[in-house]
């Protein structure tokens, strides 16, 4: 299943796009998305530690605007948002 991954803040710069579209196996969890993003950093950014830490510290948000943990299964969601550490104001 194709999942749209919306990116914000520094993540947009790291992945050079505001959104990624990646295929995942049915029953994929947030944990799989987090790992996939880390995998991309390992491939494209020579395993940049700061970038990987950013993904490890990021939260994920479902289509219903709920912050979800790594065990959340993407059954109905077609989009998931990555929320890196925040700091507005």
């Amino acid at each position: 299943m194709k999942i749209k991954i919306k990116l914000f803040g520094n993540c947009k710069d790291i992945f050079r796009s505001p959104v990624l579209e990646i295929n995942f196996a049915k029953g994929a969890k947030v944990k799989n998305i987090r790992n996939k993003l880390i995998e991309i950093i390992e491939e494209k950014h020579s395993s940049n530690k700061a970038y990987k830490d950013l993904i490890k510290k990021s939260a994920f948000c479902s289509e219903r605007d709920e912050i979800v943990n790594d065990t959340y299964m993407l059954n109905k969601d077609k989009t998931i948002s990555v929320i890196p550490p925040i700091g507005g104001g």
Partner: protein, 149 residues
Amino acid sequence: MFHAAIIDPKKTKKTINLIRAEKFIKNLDAGASIFFVGNIRKNNNNKNVTGVAYDAFDRLAIKTFKKIYIEGIKKFKLKKIKVFIEHAKGYVPLGKPSIVIAVSCKHRSEAYQLSRYLIEQIKIRAPIWKKEYYKNQKSEWLKGISIKI
């Protein structure tokens, strides 16, 4: 009454300003009005700042503002209040405002309490990110705080 918005000059001709805030919180039940304005300052971590670019998850940010507002009403047991929150998105140059929080309440103590509560909670809960731009042409995303589940 409550108003919240993310102001992105790319999508709207509006910029953050106090005039809309003042109009919105006008309240004959209120004896106190507080305006909090967050501006871009020239120095951060010993670096000369020329501006800040904000990114925001607009829909979730507005929901978060509303959630914090409702919490504030309950926490301080407030009635007949008005709250206006606008946060900038995109590039904000040095000296310009990035956020306005305006509240009108019956008494000053509750107006101060609520205003303070809103900004402190927004800083740690609203999905907004900032990238600082410096005099030496460099820029960097600030580290920020992880959202708690």
